[in-house]
Every structure is written in C-alpha cells, then in structure tokens.
C-alpha cells in the first residue's frame, strides 16, 4: 500500500478532484454577481434598400450603438461577446434573426462604449418582405468565463422600421 505507484495514483486522483471542485466553485460564484447592463441603439441612416437581382430584399444601414456592459464582468470572466440582431416576422417565417454587428469585449474598460458602424453582416431577407417592415433590434451578450458555465442574455429594443419603398 505504500509503493510509489499507489502514492502517485492517489495524489493524482486527489489533485484532479480538487481542481474540478475549484472550477465548479469559481463557476458558481458567477451566479451571485449583480448585473445591470444597459444599451441604446439608433439607426442613423438607411444606406441602401433593394431587391437582389434574383430573389431577396437586402438592406444596408448605419447604426449608432451605445452600451454599458461593465457590470457583467466578474473575476471569472474571460470576455463578453456582444452582438446586435434584427428580429422580425414574415408571412412564411415565424422568426427571423439576422446578426448585424458583433464585437468581442476583452475587459471591463472596453465594456462601456459608443460606436457608429454600418452593418458588418448583410441583412438579407428570405423573400421580399422588408418594405415597411417593423422590427426589433436586440443587443445580445454572451459571457464567456475563464472556467465553467457560460451565460447569455439580451435587451430587446422594439419599434424600428424600414422604409415603404426601395431606395
């Protein structure tokens, strides 16, 4: 019972178990943090709104995004992935979510920001449903920890709409 092999094995098992326990506690501690993020988005301009030559509507727009996500950062946070998606309904689809812009926020200092940007990803519908369409802009965030469970949540901002005619 006292051979080197047994001791090494017992030590290894114990240290792996202790490490797993510490990771679990670190992850649990994230549940106790108080979070109150805030955001506001304005559409500055609709740059282009057209029908693609064969099928679908496409919009290009410029957004002004203000957000304060500093309260999401805990000691166990590695980064926060934030993105803005347009969400709307069409006759054929009960839900369409199109991501327009995203960013990786590496630390608390960068988590309070204001940027003006045109959409990073193309806003293309499945069909021709976008004229006069009302949609929500939702800021989603995904908290990626140094170890453990990941959290995601969002702020929904309703009441945006597209022009009635192509431009």
């Amino acid at each position: 019972m006292h051979s080197f092999g047994y001791r090494a094995n017992a030590l290894f098992t114990f240290s792996v178990t202790a490490l797993a326990f510490i990771c679990a506690i670190a992850s649990l501690s994230d549940n106790f943090s108080d979070q109150n993020p805030s955001a506001e988005i304005q559409i500055l301009n609709i740059n282009r709104f057209k029908k693609q030559s064969y099928e679908n509507d496409e919009v290009s727009l410029t957004l002004d995004i203000t957000a304060d996500l500093q309260s999401l950062f805990t000691w166990n946070t590695k980064q926060v992935f934030a993105f803005v998606a347009a969400e709307y309904e069409t006759p054929k689809n009960s839900l369409n979510q199109v991501s327009l812009w995203d960013a990786i926020i590496p630390d608390k200092e960068h988590a309070k920001f204001r940027i003006q940007t045109s959409n990073k990803y193309r806003f293309i519908d499945q069909g021709h449903n976008l004229r006069g369409k009302e949609f929500n802009l939702t800021l989603h965030w995904h908290v990626m920890p140094k170890t453990g469970k990941m959290f995601a949540d969002k702020i929904v901002m309703p009441g945006y709409s597209l022009p009635d005619a192509y431009k």
Partner: protein
C-alpha cells in the same frame, strides 16, 4: 481508481446532457480568444429552438470532425417549425458557407449535435497530443499496464 471513475462520469454525462458526445475538444483557432485550442466544451442538446448567439456544434455531411461556431442568422418556418441557420467562427472574417457541403446554404436542425453551455481550459490538450502523436498514447497505455502488473495487492 481514476479510470473507472472517469468512465462513470462520462456515461453519466451522456445521460444527463442528452447528447451523443457531451464533451468536445476545441481543435482550431476560429473561436479565439474565447476558446483556445485544447479547451474542452460541455454540450447540452435540448428541444428548445435554435437562436442567434448560441454556440453550436455541428457536423457537415462528408466531414467527420464536428465544428463549434456561433449562430449568426436564424430563419424559422411558421408552419413546420423547421429552421435555417447560418454560423460563423468569432475569429473568422467570413461566415461558414465556405465550410458547408457543396450547394448547401443553410444548416438545419439535424446537423446540430449540441449547444455549448460550459467550458474548461487546457484539459483537452491530453486528447490533442494523443491524437497527433500516437506514440504518447502507446507509452501511456504501456505504463498503465506495467503499473497494473507490478502492483502486489
């Protein structure tokens, strides 16, 4: 001690998460800096609909290694509830259409094996080393075998 307890934990994870492979190792840099090569991801598959922002693990027909990327577009049909999904790696400049099978424009629910819900850093390096340098696998198994043979109790 550790081998049997690992096996029990593995089987229990398969039951609890409802997924065929509840743990995957990150192999590429396409999700950096969030997921680095060698991290392991815990997966969970539920009947909840797929939504933008989720990190999903999916298989492409014709490729045997699953890919872990984020969903950036979702179009869900009213009548059938079926869904068209587009994914992209956080660190990649463009979306995954280049990775999909020839002629495939969207992913569907049956391609997706699970959602990533949790993560452990560095632990997956053991698997990567054993796959890329199989000699280490043989040395490890040899050493374990020697240990079993040479123990006296």
């Amino acid at each position: 001690m550790i081998v049997t307890s690992s096996l029990i934990i593995w089987k229990a994870l398969i039951c609890v998460t409802g997924s065929e492979s509840p743990v995957v190792v990150v192999l590429s840099e396409s999700m950096e800096p969030g997921f680095q090569r060698g991290d392991i991801l815990f997966l969970h598959m539920s009947k909840d609909p797929i939504r933008a922002g989720e990190i999903v693990v999916f298989n492409i027909d014709g490729r045997d290694i699953p890919i872990v990327h984020r969903v950036i577009k979702v179009h869900e049909r009213k009548n059938t509830g079926e869904v068209d999904v587009l994914t992209k790696g956080d660190n990649n400049p463009g979306d995954d259409r280049l990775l999909y099978a020839k002629g495939q424009v969207w992913l569907h629910r049956h391609h997706i094996m699970g959602r990533s819900v949790g993560f452990l850093p560095y632990v997956g390096w053991v698997t990567i080393i054993m796959t890329e340098k199989p000699i280490i696998k043989y040395i490890l198994i040899g050493a374990l075998g020697l240990l079993v043979i040479s123990s006296r109790d």
